[in-house]
Symmetry: C2
Subunit: 592 residues, 2 copies
């Protein structure tokens, strides 16, 4: 956050009192006062990037004469710049400075990020890169230290392992506010060494601890809170959220590309008396969704549409989050606050028409007005796809018999619209000792290769209702370890896809006969070097190609990206094998 | 605040989840949930002084079997321990450990104190004493560093002068949360060196800055907020408070022995949508008022009676204050919070019947159950009344003529019930070169002697409507410099009163022919060595004696204590002379 020198603060005081002119006066606005909960006509006088004075208009008089410049708000609503309380920038598939370019016009002037995607690939160097790459942009990108790298030890292997030392090192870095989503709740409430040491550190340093909690047990919820984490953004039902709120947990209502939770949470809690512990987050949002639907403004729109009192909703997107993270001068429009201000058309559509950051107009009508200089970092040039031990043989499933049929555990998607799977026992044919799926429509091979320097793990399984009719699709965006995950119908296309992924330094590739489509994500295998508007057509094209290849899911890329995520029920595959999500155990592919 | 070791925190987690028994279960209560704003039947399980789990009772089932001990709440309401957001313990005229004895049974388990009374007498050593003397009591006494010692430089002299160095030293001490009421608002908005340096320090250290603001100018309010202070507890009207709230200031509604503000503030702001920036404080409360009316519970009672939503009111007395000061584990009843809990009879009377501090029952039915060990500190034995240059001659007013009548500026109380004065020009007789009041009923002499080591200043003036009919009353409790302030009808009694004050090491003395009544306040001339219940009869007796001596004001002792306070309008007297409060200038006693 912009800090004023003593001299600048005195200038701010002088502007407030009228001894010097405002740098800028934003006039003709309806102020949404998050302190008092009122909305009234006002003018906002700025100085040195801060708000010096807010004048309630009583008799039509303007302070215009006391300002160097004036911006006419045209009667629109002025609200504080929006704050995203939890986001993985990597999920936007663009770099932090390119992320800034797409979220600022949506009114997001502050984000609290968890760079745990890149941390799983590149460790603390990855986190350092995100911090560096988010500097000098006209928004605040705060960081929390990832705590669960990998998310569930023993069930998958990532490119790094975080313990107390790594977290401590990151906590000491610039713009780091605390520790990020403590996902290993089982480790937390059962005192695993890793979680104990990290939480002890966070408690000792008195830093913010972000939660991530799933259980529906009240006692486990209490235990988790007693251990230190404050928040949660993983709710299955509104009742879960209400229960959490009652226990003092901060309910961080998420509206990501994967999970839409705001509506059901709001519908459950909107009757409560102005709950304070309520914030909004985007978690993982794809670039197209940001550009077409919006960012925090979209969460806010849905919260209001779902019936939340609009003042409570705006507080959730601004001051509540600022207060949660101790960002004392953010999240409100008042004297002494940083001049991050959005002008919006109305309080239903939440269309952001003007965005001020540190007192400067940085976006208008969905256009960024400020140049963000192109940057380059050495890390962006590292090819992070290590597949030293890759061979076609590793793509095949060796059966316990030479010929005949065997029962296998299939990862079966429940339907074409969900990310949730169930374990199904199916009979498949075995030929020359290897499983073949040639006679089984609806089943595909799925493989996860550890693609990091540290390991050559690989596991192959069978997926149902993924519905790939031909070819192979491979990707390095694969939550949370970001190993190489591939679904394929034949070995030739599979090899080709893997080789192309390796060649382009990570990304998503579809191959059928030849490489039909490739999205290069060379920054850690997660992010493009290009801006979102160049990337989005590629993603669209890839989804189209994949739909043509039979995948009915509305967003085939996302289905691939979550196939190896062993926290979404009920069965997933990682580089270590099949995972039963409920029991958090590895299970055999073959039954009996 | 009690901090748990890693081991104790794991025990807390275990108790939450049910792997070990609760130390205590408080059952059969109506939980006032400040998070959700709901009230419902519940049980609270405690471990290691913290709350491990709160069970919402659904079907009458109890967790009793899982607890070592059970306390039956008898159906009463459980609310978080109350937090006083701003208090000068010295005004209770008892030492910090004796203060604890009277406020704990009222449900106050945390106070944020400003030891600026003793700081004016004894400097940083006085502050250190307050910190030490407030240790090891079953409540939390946090401290803010006084910033305005003396309150208005140039208008009065105290026993110490605080600059950046003194404040910095105190900020580094245990239990110090930031800097206390920045009273010199004129210095703040006009960049006085003293205020600039202290605020620069506080901003640089990112510590809490408490405000104290009087002006009705919107622009001055903005300027004051831009300079750093966050709060205010000085409101003349409800409209002032609403204006402050709109500007983002925290409205700290005060109900002290001097100023009753809660009702008019609540009446103005109660229509707002759940304002967050609202807290309650007692500021200065006399011991009798604490014992008879209450403490924070009294502020809360009045807030609810005045129409504030009861959840908002309870939040103001608990979680809002905790959140303001960053006391993360205080102010709510939820897993992971310190087990400071009050059981109250109903939500109107707010009679506190049981008080738990760190999980232990410390008071019940207005009785402290826990022994607070008697303490002694070397500072308590220092006689702080230095009057090296006192002589009867200094009590007389030398007139500019030898005989006849002169016009003088009289400090005239508006009526018998106010602390507010106005300047009145009156003619008085002069005999042998000295003013005499023998023929002027309703006028008394008033003198202020600097009683600190550093100075021999003294000023004598004339006060109207104080109504002392005979004798002299002198006291060392005299806000904020705590010089010796005396009102007298004749020199003989005046000398006797001063000598007695000196002999007893400070306090309040009434003399008429002989010393008729004396209250010894030997600790810095401000506090008794005795407990409140021994002190209160003395104060009552003193007030009675003074009323018999003609002073109609309901609390004569308080009128004396504020006669030298140059921030209450319109004219006051300090050791440097008559002060015109409006212009903050010294003025002449004689007109023309």
């Amino acid at each position: 956050m912009k800090r004023l020198t003593s001299f600048e603060r005195r200038e701010l005081v002088d502007a407030a009192i009228g001894r010097r002119r405002f740098d800028l006066l934003i006039k003709n606005i309806q102020l949404v006062n998050v302190f008092s909960g009122e909305i009234y006509p006002a003018e906002i006088g700025l100085c040195n990037g801060y708000i010096a004075h807010v004048e309630k208009i009583r008799n039509g008089n303007s302070l215009e004469a006391g300002a160097e410049k004036t911006y006419d708000g045209m009667g629109r609503y002025a609200v504080p710049g929006f704050i995203d309380s939890h986001v993985h920038i990597e999920s936007s598939m663009v770099t932090p400075y390119n992320f800034a370019k797409i979220v600022i016009p949506k009114g997001t002037t502050t984000v609290v990020t968890d760079p745990h995607e890149i941390a799983n690939v590149m460790g603390t160097e990855g986190v350092e890169y995100m911090i560096e790459a988010g500097r000098d942009v006209p928004m605040y990108q705060y960081v929390l230290s990832p705590t669960c790298v990998p998310s569930v030890p023993g069930l998958e292997e990532a490119g790094a392992v975080f313990g107390k030392e790594e977290v401590e090192r990151i906590i000491g870095m610039e713009r780091v506010l605390g520790v990020a989503e403590v996902m290993d709740y089982y480790g937390v409430i059962n005192h695993s060494k890793r979680m104990r040491e990290i939480l002890d550190l966070a408690v000792e340093k008195d830093c913010f601890i972000q939660g991530h909690f799933f259980s529906d047990s009240d006692r486990e919820l209490s235990a988790y809170l007693c251990a230190g984490p404050k928040t949660n953004h993983e709710f299955i039902t509104g009742e879960d959220a209400k229960r959490a709120l009652r226990a003092g947990m901060v309910v961080d209502a998420r509206e990501s590309s994967f999970s839409k939770n705001v509506r059901f949470i709001v519908e459950e809690i909107k009757g409560l008396h102005s709950p304070k512990n309520f914030t909004l987050c985007t978690d993982d949002r794809e670039p197209k969704e940001i550009i077409t639907k919006g960012h925090v403004n979209d969460c806010l729109r849905i919260a209001i549409k779902s019936g939340l009192n609009r003042i409570d909703a705006i507080r959730a997107a601004t001051m509540n989050t600022a207060s949660l993270y101790g960002l004392k001068r953010l999240g409100a429009i008042g004297p002494g606050y940083v001049a991050n201000i959005n002008l919006i058309d109305d309080l239903e559509g939440i269309n952001v028409e003007s965005v001020f950051f540190e007192g400067s107009l940085v976006a208008e009508n969905d256009e960024l007005l400020m140049e963000i200089e192109p940057k380059e970092f050495p890390l962006e040039k590292i090819n992070s796809v290590y597949l030293n031990d890759f061979s076609v043989d590793r793509l095949r499933i060796r059966a316990p018999i030479e010929e005949g049929r065997v029962k296998v555990r299939v990862i079966k998607y429940q339907d074409s619209e969900t990310l949730v799977t169930e374990a199904a026992l199916e009979e498949v044919a075995v030929r020359n000792g290897y499983v073949t799926l040639e006679d089984r429509e609806g089943l595909n091979f799925i493989a996860v290769f550890n693609r990091h320097k540290v390991s050559n793990n690989c596991a192959v399984g069978i997926v149902g209702n993924f519905c790939l009719s031909h070819g192979a699709v491979a990707g390095t965006v694969s939550h949370d370890c970001h190993n190489l995950c591939m679904v394929y119908t034949n070995l030739k296309d599979a090899v080709q896809a893997v080789e192309e992924v390796k060649r382009i330094g990570g990304g998503i590739v579809f191959s059928s006969g030849k490489v039909l489509m490739a999205i290069a994500l060379p920054v850690a295998g997660l992010m493009s070097r290009h801006e979102a508007d160049e990337l989005i057509p590629d993603i669209d094209r890839m989804n189209e190609v994949l739909r043509e290849a039979g995948i009915e899911f509305s967003n085939p890329v996302m289905r691939l990206a979550t196939a190896a995520l062993p926290v979404i029920p009920s069965i997933k595959i990682t580089d270590l094998g099949l995972v039963d999500v409920g029991s958090q155990r590895l299970v055999d592919l073959f039954d009996g």
